[in-house]
Subunit: 524 residues, 2 copies
């Protein structure tokens, strides 16, 4: 019978990049790919090399990294009617991208063949056959995505199946049934997928969109019907209403349906973190109501539920939240947090007693700042600085007496007085100018600061929508080429928030490198 293992293809970098309001840089794409590989994703669809130069660059760049397990896949369409396969630009772009796996989409709905491609039904079968054969002849594994398969099947079942059989004959390794306009419902997906599984010998896959609000359910129903390959994106980002959300599909398959997915438990535990980082890179606010990983997914409002959860957690929680890296929260009693902070501190070599009252006062301070717009899970370094201060481990190394910035078009001038040292610098922008002036003042005493570079800079309005006087949150990422850390600043002024995050980033580096940092002995 069916194996109990399902392989996962992530298309965050291709279909996800089609989301309105999302645009990934090359560097964003590399960061996401490495994260997906760590998560244990089987195939990473990196882009459509025939369609834009940014995607071609991705395939070049990703080769510089050695991935743990994931295979990188390039996306493309079946050949155009004007070209034989070997001369088709799209197919050759896939070949040139030098990947092991191709995801090739082709038409399986007669309406698309006759009214969009405007070719004959038989000719479309030739396109499918030729394209797959050509890629196979170049040694590629070919995943064939049958576009609009469910609509195609409903309007002309025999033709839709003949497209799959043609792909199978041409050597396709996986036959993916795509619900491209997202209009199908779970019971239809089950019935149609089961019929396909009966009619082909090749592994069947699923590619669902969320236009009916059923992308996750449709994927699960397809797997129940015998599919063993699923496609989706992190957080369900994608064109229109998005793709099927792998962050929800993976735990449903693993925890509720008993399938082997990715690296099992180890992967599940990282789901919340991966979800969070992808939101951040995409410039989206995390969805607090997201199943499994949302901040409110295991949040209980005080009263009947919270009380019962304390008594019997399984009475109100469908799974143990720690299985997916999430935590139980209560809206009124602020119990959560201390274990997160302890873990962060342990990561930088500081062990703290869970019952230390100083830890509680650090937590109280952190919660107070979170109410004012900070989000320390995005910038743990800022939270660690607070904890170091409360724990008495902090040594004041940077004292900012004064800063001032003057801006005019591309020019910015910063005047800073740090540790009694007055410095001035010109920059191409205010953060640049402050950064230079600050380093000038600090490098004489702390030459190691020369190693620190800024690697990311983001600003969002964390609170409710207001006007230009709203509080903004600046997150800056730093690296010394060995470690990476992130700090935050919150202010009504984007410049002040940037300066705050900048100072904290340099301060954090100095604090952790400070030989005098006393690491306390703790008996836990």
């Amino acid at each position: 019978m069916f194996t109990k293992s399902v392989e996962v293809l992530d298309t965050t970098l291709r279909d996800g990049a089609q989301t309105a309001n999302i645009s990934f840089t090359l560097n964003d794409k590399i960061r996401i790919a490495l994260l997906l590989d760590e998560l244990g994703i089987n195939y990473i669809e990196g882009g459509w090399p025939g369609s834009n130069p940014k995607d071609e660059e991705f395939f070049k760049e990703i080769k510089k990294y050695s991935l743990i397990k994931a295979k990188v896949a390039a996306f493309g369409s079946t050949r155009r009617k004007e070209f034989p396969a070997k001369e088709d630009p799209s197919l050759n772009a896939i070949v040139k991208s030098d990947v092991e796996v191709a995801v090739l989409f082709g038409k399986s709905w007669t309406l698309h063949v006759t009214d969009v491609l405007k070719i004959g039904l038989k000719e479309n079968l030739d396109l499918v056959y030729d394209s797959i054969s050509y890629l196979k002849s170049h040694g590629l594994k070919v995943i064939f995505d049958a576009e609009h398969f469910y609509q195609g099947y409903k309007e002309d079942k025999d033709y839709a199946l003949s497209v799959l059989k043609t792909a199978e004959d041409a050597g396709a390794d996986v036959l993916v049934l795509a619900d491209t306009n997202g209009g199908s419902l779970p019971h239809e997906v089950y019935t149609i997928t089961a019929d396909v599984v009966k009619n082909v010998k090749t592994k069947v896959g699923l590619h669902m969109h969320n236009d009916s609000g059923c992308a996750v359910a449709n994927t699960l129903m397809g797997v129940l019907a015998g599919a063993r390959h699923v496609q989706g994106t992190i957080n369900g980002i994608g064109e229109r209403t998005g793709n099927a959300d792998l962050i929800q599909i993976i735990p449903n398959l693993a925890l509720k349906m008993g399938f082997e997915v990715l690296r099992g438990k180890e992967s599940l535990k990282r789901l919340k973190e991966v979800s969070r980082i992808v939101y951040e890179i995409a410039g989206l606010h995390p969805n607090p109501y997201q199943p499994y990983v949302g901040d409110f997914a295991f949040t209980h409002k005080a009263g009947v539920h919270a009380d019962a959860v304390m008594k019997v957690s399984r009475a109100y929680e469908h799974i143990d939240p720690s299985l997916v890296g999430n935590t139980r929260r209560f809206v009124i009693s602020e119990v959560s947090g201390s274990s997160n902070l302890i873990t962060y501190l342990e990561n930088v070599g500081i062990r703290v007693d869970k019952k230390d009252p100083k830890l509680r006062s650090a937590l109280a301070k952190i919660k107070e700042l979170e109410n004012r717009g900070y989000s320390f899970d995005l910038a743990p370094a800022s939270a660690i600085l607070i904890a170091l201060k409360e724990l008495g481990l902090y040594q004041p190394l940077i004292k900012v007496d004064y800063w001032k910035v003057i801006n005019e078009r591309e020019l910015a001038i910063a005047v800073v007085k740090v540790n009694g040292q007055l410095e001035v610098a010109e920059g191409v922008g205010p953060v640049h100018a402050v950064d230079i002036a600050m380093r000038k003042a600090l490098q004489k005493v702390y030459p190691e600061i020369g190693k620190v570079k800024l690697t990311d800079y983001r600003v969002i309005l964390p609170g409710e929508i207001k006007n230009t006087e709203s509080v903004v949150r600046v997150t800056i990422e730093f690296t010394d080429n060995e470690k990476t850390w992130r700090t935050e600043g919150v202010s009504t002024s984007v410049i002040e928030a940037s300066v705050m995050a900048l100072i904290e980033g340099l301060d954090y580096y100095l604090q952790l490198n400070n030989k005098k940092l006393k690491v306390p002995e703790v008996n836990n």
Copy 2:
């Protein structure tokens, strides 16, 4: 056989009010109730009169309005073990609320009976029987919500069914199967609901939560299995990951499964509006990716899609967006072709010939700017300004002679000279200060600019990660309370980029309101 009509109970005001971060005022609740009635909702669950005074007030207040069709329902639990029904505070609170319909929840999962209520299994049946009989004796229609029914059925099928039969014997009008912890999957819901429908004579209802990401699908599968009453909330708000979203369930039932729901087409057309107003009252950002009603639900980005949608709309859209009060949109980006830009221009009343060479030069300019860090799908207004300039339709209305900003901690001072007018302003941040100074200078000539507000502000590094001298991209969203638009600025300086986006946002508004804007005649 089964009737083809499904009744809808909305619990936005009760279960929706349990959402973390949401709190409705009495006035909010009245506004929502009237809106639900206009939509054609059958039952409006107004609150839990036994649990808080705000809910009691609602039932008093709503009586002052004459609803078109909706029946108001009060929520409560089966009697406590300590009281006979006629002395139970919760049941009497329902009676006192003077409604026609009661929604009564009771236990159907043995774990809850023995470990949470800590009573015997038989005693729980008495609670159910007595409570329903008491409410029926007061002439109320009783909808019985069997809490955690699916878990209960899986662990002790006979007991779970006996609870339903007890409710039926006591005279319950609807037996609702609640997936209270949201952990069930669609195939389980189908099988279990079908078995219930076979075993009872009373109408069966569904109450789903979204913890597995399947609340909508679970509701549809339950209806397929024979349920004819569905419960949910507008936009799926609710505790943890939320309730089943009626905004998605209603069109799925009506447009895809052929059921009579609410007032049919008339109700469907109002779904987007109702969704939007409830978000606003709840203080939440509308979800642009929401199926059916999201701003992006029918937004096409990829060039290949946009092109095909123009040819055959049903090729890429699962339904006609106007059926649910939504509209088709296109986004402009490096992957899309000229058809997206044309549609954008048409939306602002400008028709352009597809072959106009000026359109091509506008597109070339757009692509060039995208290579320098712009992303016009995030900010179509900036792209439209480029097109207006290239098409010769742009009139220079804002001339910035000069701007300068001085920052120091929370204080920012902006000096601007616009259209020859020198102005100075203090702000809580640089963007705020520039915004004020700019409006001061412009409002004398263009008083309408007073209506424009900023609603979002974001900054990211669009290019490769470098250092603080990297180019940043600022995106600002504006509204005049009727329309919303987004502009972008790209610069090495976050201040300059902000000022650019700010000026473009105001300029865009003035350009589109400019009476002199010549709309050219085109023969397509």
